[in-house]
C-alpha cells in the first residue's frame, strides 16, 4: 500500500527532491547539502501569520489611491475600484474583467484558500484530500498574477511623464498592494501540502501490517 516517506523514516529534500534517510529531525541532504526537516517546521503558524498579514494589507491596498493623474494643474487620484469602473464606463469590459480578477478574485481567493487549507490541517479533515492538494497547487501558481495592477500603474507613470501638461504618479496604495502580494506569496511558500495527508487514517491493510 501507499506509504509516506515520513512513516518509513525518509524525507525528501525540498530543494533537489532527493530522498534521504532521516537520521535526525534535521538532516543535511546528501546531494545538495541543504539542511531540511521532513516537514516544513512551524508551517501552519507561519502560513497563518502571512495570510493574516495579507488580509490586513488588503484594506489599505484598496482604500488608498493606486495612482494620481495630473493634467494642466488638475489632480485626480484613483483607487483600484475607481480604475476598474473607469474601464467599465468607456466600455473596455475585457480589460475591466482582467484587472478585477487579478486585483480582487486572485488575492481574496488565495487568502480564503489558504484559510481553508490551514483549517483542514488543524482539524484533521480527511475528506477530498486530492481536491485539497489541487487547491494548494492552484493557490501556489496564481499568486504572481495579482501584481498586474501594480505593473500597470508603474508603466503608466513612467510613460505619461510630460511635465505640467500631463503626468501620472504612483501613489501609496500601490505600495500596500505590492506588500499584500508578497505576503500571499510568502504564505503559499510556508505551507506544507504534505501535512494535509499526514492525518489520513490507515487503510485496513496497513492496520493488519502493524
Amino acid at each position: 500500500m501507499n506509504k509516506t516517506a515520513l512513516s518509513l523514516g525518509f524525507g525528501s529534500c525540498p530543494r533537489c527532491q532527493k530522498v534521504n534517510k532521516m537520521h535526525n529531525e534535521r538532516q543535511q541532504c546528501s546531494r545538495c547539502h541543504y539542511w531540511f526537516h521532513a516537514r516544513k517546521p512551524n508551517s501552519i503558524q507561519k502560513t497563518m501569520a502571512w495570510t493574516i498579514t495579507a488580509l490586513v494589507l488588503f484594506v489599505p491596498a484598496n482604500l488608498y489611491p493606486m495612482m494620481v493623474l495630473n493634467t494642466l494643474g488638475k489632480t485626480e487620484s484613483s483607487t483600484i475600484l475607481q480604475g476598474i469602473s473607469a474601464f467599465v464606463q468607456v466600455g473596455h469590459y475585457p480589460i475591466a474583467i482582467i484587472i478585477f480578477i487579478a486585483s480582487f478574485i486572485i488575492p481574496l481567493g488565495k487568502i480564503i484558500g489558504l484559510f481553508i487549507l490551514i483549517y483542514n490541517v488543524k482539524h484533521k479533515t480527511n475528506i477530498n484530500l486530492k481536491r485539497q492538494s489541487h487547491l494548494f497547487h492552484i493557490v501556489e501558481k496564481i499568486g504572481p498574477w495579482s501584481m498586474l495592477d501594480v505593473f500597470v500603474v508603474v508603466v503608466m507613470a513612467s510613460v505619461v511623464n510630460l511635465g505640467f501638461l500631463s503626468n501620472i504618479e504612483v501613489a501609496i496604495g500601490a505600495s500596500y498592494f505590492a506588500l499584500m502580494v508578497i505576503a500571499t506569496l510568502m504564505a503559499a511558500n510556508s505551507f506544507d501540502p504534505r501535512l494535509l495527508w499526514d492525518n489520513k487514517p490507515l487503510t485496513k491493510e496497513q492496520v493488519y501490517e502493524q
Binding site: 501507499n2 506509504k3 509516506t4 516517506a5 515520513l6 518509513l8 525518509f10 524525507g11 525528501s12 530543494r15 533537489c16 527532491q17 532527493k18 530522498v19 534521504n20 534517510k21 546531494r31 545538495c32 547539502h33 541543504y34 474601464f87 468607456v90 473596455h92 480589460i95 482582467i98 484587472i99 484530500l129 486530492k130 492538494s133 497547487h137 501556489e140 498574477w145 501584481m147 498586474l148 495592477d149 501594480v150 505593473f151 500597470v152 508603474v154 508603466v155 503608466m156 507613470a157 513612467s158 510613460v159 505619461v160 511623464n161 510630460l162 500631463s166 504618479e169 500601490a174 505600495s175 505590492a178 508578497i182 506569496l185 503559499a188 511558500n189 501540502p193 504534505r194 494535509l196 495527508w197
Partner: protein, 205 residues
C-alpha cells in the same frame, strides 16, 4: 539496513514514497496516491536548456533597455523602457515598488537563466564547482517569483488605457520582452530537473 535511496522518489504534495518507474520520454510518472505529476522526463534536455537559456540571457539587455512604448501629446514625445520605469520609481521615492519590479521582472528571471546556462555548460564540459549546487538549489526556490508574464500583461493593459488618452507608439522593447518571456517559459518546459541533479551528483563523485 542500507537502502538505496537513488531509486526512490517522494511525492511533493502527499509524501507518498514510490520506486521511480521506468518511463520513456513523452510519458509522465504519476503519484499513485494523489495523482499529481511526480516526474516528466524531457528529450535532449541538456542541449535545449542550454540553447534557450543562452538566448534568454542575450535578450535581457534589449528587453530592459529598449523603449517599451511612447506617447505623443501636444507636440511632445516621451517613451520609456523597463529600466527607466525603475529609475523613475526610485527618483520619486517608491523604493519598495522599484525593488519589487527589479526583483520580479529582472533579477529573478536573470538568475534562473544564468543558473540554467552555467549549469548545463559545466555539465557538458565536465567542470565541477561546489557552488554549482548552491546555484541550482536556488533555481527551484525562485520558480514562483518570476513575473515577466505578468509584467507583459501589464504593458498590454496600459497600452489599452493610453490609446484613449494619447497617440501611442510601440517600441522595440516589447518585441524583446515577448521573446524573453517565451525563453523563460520554454526554459521551465525543457529543463529536466531530476536529470540535471543526477548528473550534477555524478560529476561530484
Amino acid at each position: 539496513m542500507q537502502v538505496n535511496t537513488d531509486t526512490l522518489i517522494a511525492c511533493q504534495l502527499c509524501d507518498t514514497l514510490v520506486n521511480i518507474p521506468q518511463i520513456s520520454s513523452g510519458e509522465k510518472a504519476i503519484c499513485p496516491c494523489c495523482q499529481s505529476v511526480l516526474y516528466v522526463p524531457k528529450k535532449h534536455s541538456l542541449e535545449r536548456t542550454q540553447a534557450i537559456s543562452l538566448a534568454g540571457l542575450l535578450l535581457l539587455l534589449p528587453a530592459t533597455q529598449l523603449p517599451l512604448m511612447g506617447i505623443y501629446a501636444a507636440g511632445k514625445y516621451h517613451q520609456t523602457s523597463l529600466l527607466e520605469c525603475i529609475t523613475l520609481l526610485t527618483n520619486n521615492g517608491f523604493y519598495l515598488i522599484a525593488f519589487c519590479v527589479l526583483i520580479f521582472t529582472i533579477v529573478v528571471p536573470a538568475v534562473r537563466l544564468f543558473t540554467a546556462f552555467y549549469l548545463t555548460y559545466c555539465l557538458q564540459r565536465n567542470i565541477n564547482k561546489p557552488f554549482l549546487m548552491v546555484f541550482f538549489r536556488s533555481y527551484h526556490l525562485l520558480d514562483n517569483w518570476a513575473m515577466i508574464h505578468v509584467f507583459f500583461l501589464g504593458v498590454i493593459v496600459s497600452l489599452y488605457k493610453l490609446v484613449d488618452i494619447a497617440d501611442v507608439a510601440i517600441g522595440a522593447g516589447i518585441a524583446s520582452l515577448v521573446m524573453l518571456l517565451m525563453c523563460s517559459t520554454m526554459l521551465s518546459v525543457c529543463i529536466d530537473y531530476r536529470y540535471l541533479w543526477t548528473e550534477l551528483e555524478r560529476s561530484h563523485e
